[in-house]
Amino acid sequence: MGSGMVIREEDHSRLTGLLERLVAESSAKFSFLIDRAGQRIASGGDLGEVDPTALASLVAGNVAATEGVAQLVGETSFASLFHEGQKESLHISSAGPSILLVVFDERSSLGLVRLRVQQLTAPISDAIQLIEDRGETVASSGVAGIGIAEITEADIDALFG
């Protein structure tokens, strides 16, 4: 645990492309891929005024709580969550180790969203798996000129002025 996830440019464009496609094909507003700790990995579509950081954190909390509930009633997890609002609705599901969120309104429907999510979950999971399989960590990533591995205490002191 705690080993982290390193997203490269090519991962980012692959995932963003898949999420954009999901949004377009399901007539949704936007879609997020979120890790279980609550960080947004990638997104597609038009977020509008939404605070993406808060949304990612709360959705991950929601999924974690629901999984806790699932285990209490003897399930390992629930395949998907659906929150129906008056205008906006949310569809939340798993894509490999990550969480896939789709936000849509009356221009789409639960059936269509669910269908497209099912169709695109495998390629999204594969893209995540690719990142995990690479097993790249901060120290090992060694991208030229990046130098995270050379962070010093002085750098950190400078953050706090």
């Binding site: 645990m1 705690g2 080993s3 982290g4 996830m5 390193v6 997203i7 490269r8 440019e9 991962d11 980012h12 464009s13 890790d35 279980r36 700790a37 609550g38 960080q39 990995i41 605070d51 950081t53 808060a54 954190s57 709360l58 909390g61 974690a64 709580a65 806790g68 960590t137 901060v138 120290a139 990533s141 991208v143 990046i146 130098g147 995270i148 591995a149 050379e150 962070i151 205490e153 750098d155 950190i156 400078a158 953050l159 706090f160």
Partner: protein
């Protein structure tokens, strides 16, 4: 889980404030929120009961600035301290990169502090962490209360891995940023090891 995005040039880390009920975890986050620049802080979200006890978690994203060309963003969470919310505490530790233990200095909370540390160790282990190596600092809060125990005594009872210890009076801001800086330093330096 530290999340590094080379496309967005961002480092994202998760820090959890842990400790017994009413020790001041939420106050720490509120103070950080109140004293951070508007452009560096995100929305403070509190999932609390009507009596302002944390029900699930408080959350606040904080951007600290750029380090080696990367924007460093810390996601600060608190857990609910009350004993019966253990299931929630376990969930919030998922993917944590660093833990701040907030101890209540009042003598009457001595056992509550000890219980909460044991609970933290158990929940870290259940989430697959080695409690002895995860970045960790301790804050002795409420130093201004009349029954505050001596620092040496609290250190002897509560310190279990030679962690950095900070004295604080959270509502007044004393020690709050020192504690934050302490954990940020450990988390960022820990990145090198993985």
């Amino acid at each position: 889980m530290t999340f590094i995005n080379y496309a967005a040039r961002e480092i994202n880390c998760k820090v959890v404030y842990y400790g017994p009920g009413l020790c001041g975890k939420t106050t720490n986050i509120q103070l950080i929120h109140a004293r951070s620049r508007e452009d560096s802080r995100g929305k403070l979200i509190s999932l609390a009961t009507e009596s302002e006890r944390t029900l699930f978690f408080d959350f606040m994203p904080l951007e600290l600035g750029t380090i080696r060309g990367f924007r460093t963003r810390f996601h600060l969470y608190t857990v609910p301290g009350q004993v019966f919310y253990d299931a929630s505490r376990k969930l919030i530790l998922k993917g944590v990169d660093g833990v701040v233990f907030v101890a209540d200095s009042q003598e009457a909370r001595r056992d509550a502090n000890l219980d909460s540390i044991e609970n933290l160790k158990e929940n870290l282990a259940e989430n697959g962490y080695n409690a002895a190596t995860v970045p960790y600092v301790m804050q002795l809060n409420k130093r201004d209360t009349p029954t505050a125990m001596p620092v040496e005594e609290m250190t002897r009872e509560l310190s279990w891995r030679n962690e950095p210890i900070f004295e604080a009076v959270a509502p007044k801001g004393q020690g709050v940023f020192e504690t934050l800086k302490g954990i940020v330093k450990l988390v960022l330096l820990d990145l090198k090891k993985h």
